[in-house]
């Protein structure tokens, strides 16, 4: 049915007298999803994407646990397409109430709604969809990956700051591209920017050969503008757009200047140390989903350290309280939004080679925390589950 890939167990050496034993088991539960074909195979997706982040979170927590006499372990379960996802989830929940989910929206909801998941603490480390934070939110499901709109709000702040207010958009047809395009539009509206024109990417030619011929013509109709936004979350065509546009203009969004959860180019705020730890362990650079899975396990570990408890109810309360803070190597303490369970976090705006800016940008103010200028704020939230 499904396969249990491996179990990493960490036995902490108790220093000092052990009181009631505090032991945390976490399952990294992954639904395998086939990636549609893309134009270029230059950047394959790592097999261990996400789970490698959870492993680093485990390693980080174990080091602290060594001094407190706590125990942590991690089980990675990968469920192939067509296998019994619900049964895998039930088995994970029978083992432990703590699960990091790497799965599409529907699969995550299926887990959250299982009777066995009542009282569990689930982390969404993979789905950026707004619906999971809004109407479809669940009280037992927290989000360490930023929503699409957190990222697009970050980009919109940059556009406002640079006064790039004549904006055009090319969006792919994949549902992920469309969702990101919607988020971009929502953010432009929020920050009072106007989208001048929009086109959908419908080519099926192999652009490795003729991007230089197709793209100038495709973008000629846009006329003049300041910046071209790309919604290509699948990583299909975006790479062929820069330098091929009819007008010489910057590109941003899924290509060019990208608002991201994490990138190898983030090196301030102590980030170099985490980048090095990750690279030593995984043999590659840390990516957004790795970061979200790391943050999930670290958030749990931080709550365990501070409460000295492994009770899911105690930990959930602490995680959602004002006392909680996670040092996430992005320059500010991070904590969770009490109205929808989303981890607040800065969003780096990066190119392949450097951090260009860190959102929230200076000047975007908020009465609670500037981090709440990114994403769904309390007043507009449609999430009811956290109000009980």
């Amino acid at each position: 049915m499904f396969r249990l890939s491996f179990v990493l167990a960490g036995l902490a050496l108790a220093s000092g007298a052990a009181q009631a034993e505090v032991a945390i088991s976490v399952t990294y539960l992954q639904q395998e999803v086939e990636r549609p074909p893309v134009l270029s195979n230059l950047d394959p997706i790592p097999e261990d994407l996400g789970m490698a982040g959870a492993e680093l979170g485990l390693a980080d927590n174990l080091t602290t646990a060594k001094f407190l006499g706590h125990k942590y372990d991690l089980t990675v379960t990968t469920v192939p397409e067509g296998a019994d996802w619900a049964q895998a989830a039930r088995q994970a929940l029978a083992n432990s109430p703590f699960v990091i989910l790497d799965a599409p929206v529907q699969a995550q909801l299926e887990v959250a709604d299982l009777p066995e998941a009542a009282g569990a603490v689930l982390f969404n480390a993979s789905a950026p969809d707004l619906s999971l934070r809004e109407a479809e939110c669940r009280a037992n499901l927290l989000h360490t990956l930023p929503s699409d709109v957190m990222r697009t709000d970050a980009l919109a702040q940059f556009l406002v700051k640079r006064r790039w207010d004549e904006i055009v958009l090319i969006a792919g047809e994949h549902p992920g591209d469309q969702a990101f395009a919607e988020a971009l539009k929502r953010s432009l509206q929020k920050f009072r920017l106007e989208l001048q024109a929009e086109k959908t990417w419908v080519f099926d030619a192999d652009l490795r050969r003729n991007a230089a011929q197709e793209v100038p013509l495709f973008t000629q109709e846009f006329g003049d503008y300041d910046v071209l936004l790309i919604a290509d979350e699948l990583d299909d065509f975006g790479r062929y757009i820069p330098f091929n546009t009819w007008e010489p203009r910057p590109v941003a969004g899924s290509e060019g200047l990208q608002p991201v959860t994490w990138s190898r180019v983030v090196e301030q705020w102590g980030a170099v140390q985490m980048q090095n730890r990750f690279a030593d362990q995984a043999g590659r650079a840390m990516r957004p989903k790795d970061y979200a899975a790391w943050a999930a396990y670290r958030a749990l570990g931080e709550a365990v350290t501070r409460t000295q408890s492994d009770d899911p109810a105690v930990l959930r309360d602490y995680i959602l309280s004002d006392d909680f803070e996670l040092a996430g190597f992005k320059g500010r303490a991070m904590n969770f939004r009490a109205w929808n369970g989303q981890l607040r976090q800065p969003i780096p705006l990066v190119t392949d080679r450097a951090v260009v800016a860190m959102a929230p940008l200076e000047g975007f103010l908020h009465q609670r925390t500037e981090l709440d200028t990114l994403g769904i704020d309390e007043a507009e939230s449609q999430c009811q589950a956290f109000k009980e």
Partner: protein
């Protein structure tokens, strides 16, 4: 007349060399030496890669430099600027503290979750102690019996018995501890937490928390008020605390734990050191690449001195 003038001029330059403040420039692989009389950079000296913590031996005859990316602690002759030799340091040494015996260096190995103890005479590692992730802040009690390592991601102060070189206590502090100092004849330990935005005061005898100091800079969001390095005035009366990206240094009454003043300095203020009589304070400002000179009595910045890129550590060197 003419003779008198000449004599006066000679008298003015009489101490051929003034005291100095040495600054490590993390992203330039250099040290900048500031003349305390003229408040100007008089020398720039090359070091190993990514120099961060710097400290002089007790007699100021050598300077120890954490060359983090060269994975070594370099020993420099401050007169000539020559590297005399390297010490075995463990990987990625970030910060260290010299034991009162003038012999043992306690080094935080940031990438390895280890504190390395090196004998500077025999140039050998005498102990390696497992600590939390990303060790950084280092301190030794005045009587030399206790060494402290703080770990940034584990969020702890680790207490090391310098007799046995073993941990005897681990105490939690707020997020991302950066710097530690013993105060008041070693009866108190202070630990700054960058992300937590606090300084935790411990009673050393019992290793228990005694007080917590919080900071609030007008017009700056609390998230950006990030205490890192700090130093004590004469008699441990006032602690000057660098508050990172809030671009301020706080003056804290060390008796009452109340913050009395906030002094505007350069961007992302990091570490600092005093001149001989502690009338001037020199802060390293990482992002603006300069050093702010503070008049300690007036608690006012009096000058900004351009140094290299990302100045990190500061160390005083008397020359007379």
């Amino acid at each position: 007349m003419r003779l008198a003038a000449l004599l006066a001029a000679t008298a003015l330059c009489a101490p051929a060399t003034a005291d100095e403040i040495w600054i490590s420039n993390e992203k330039d692989d250099t040290l900048s030496v500031i003349d305390i009389e003229t408040l100007e950079v008089i020398r720039t000296i090359e070091t190993g890669e990514r120099p961060r913590g710097i400290t002089f031996s007790k007699d100021y005859s050598v300077l120890y430099i954490c060359a983090s990316d060269s994975d070594s602690v370099q020993v420099m002759d401050p007169e000539t600027g020559e590297i005399l030799h390297d010490l075995p340091s463990g990987e990625d040494p970030e910060q260290f503290v010299l034991h009162p015996n003038d012999k043992h260096l306690y080094i935080a190995n940031e990438d390895d979750a280890i504190t390395t103890v090196v004998d500077t005479e025999s140039r050998t590692v005498i102990a390696q102690i497992d600590v939390g992730i990303e060790p950084e802040g280092m301190a030794v009690s005045p009587d030399g019996k206790i060494a402290i390592t703080t770990s940034e991601t584990t969020n702890m102060a680790h207490w090391i018995d310098t007799e046995t070189q073993e941990l005897f206590a681990n105490t939690l502090v707020d997020s991302r501890p950066r710097h530690a100092e013993f105060l008041k004849d070693g009866t108190e330990l202070w630990v700054s937490s960058e992300i937590g935005g606090t300084i935790t005061v411990f009673d050393v005898e019992t290793q228990t928390e005694k007080a917590k100091i919080e900071f609030e800079v007008e017009g700056v969001h609390p998230d950006r008020v990030q205490p890192v390095g700090f130093e004590l005035s004469n008699g441990d009366e006032t602690a000057f605390v660098a508050l990172g990206p809030s671009n301020h240094v706080a003056a804290v009454n060390a008796e009452t734990y109340e913050v009395e003043d906030y002094i505007l300095v350069g961007r992302r203020v990091w570490h600092m050191d005093f001149n001989a009589d502690k009338s001037l304070l020199f802060t390293t400002n990482g992002v603006s690449g300069d050093v702010t000179v503070i008049d300690v009595a007036k608690r006012e910045p009096i000058k900004t001195i351009k140094v290299g890129r990302f100045p990190w550590g500061a160390a005083f060197r008397p020359t007379n």
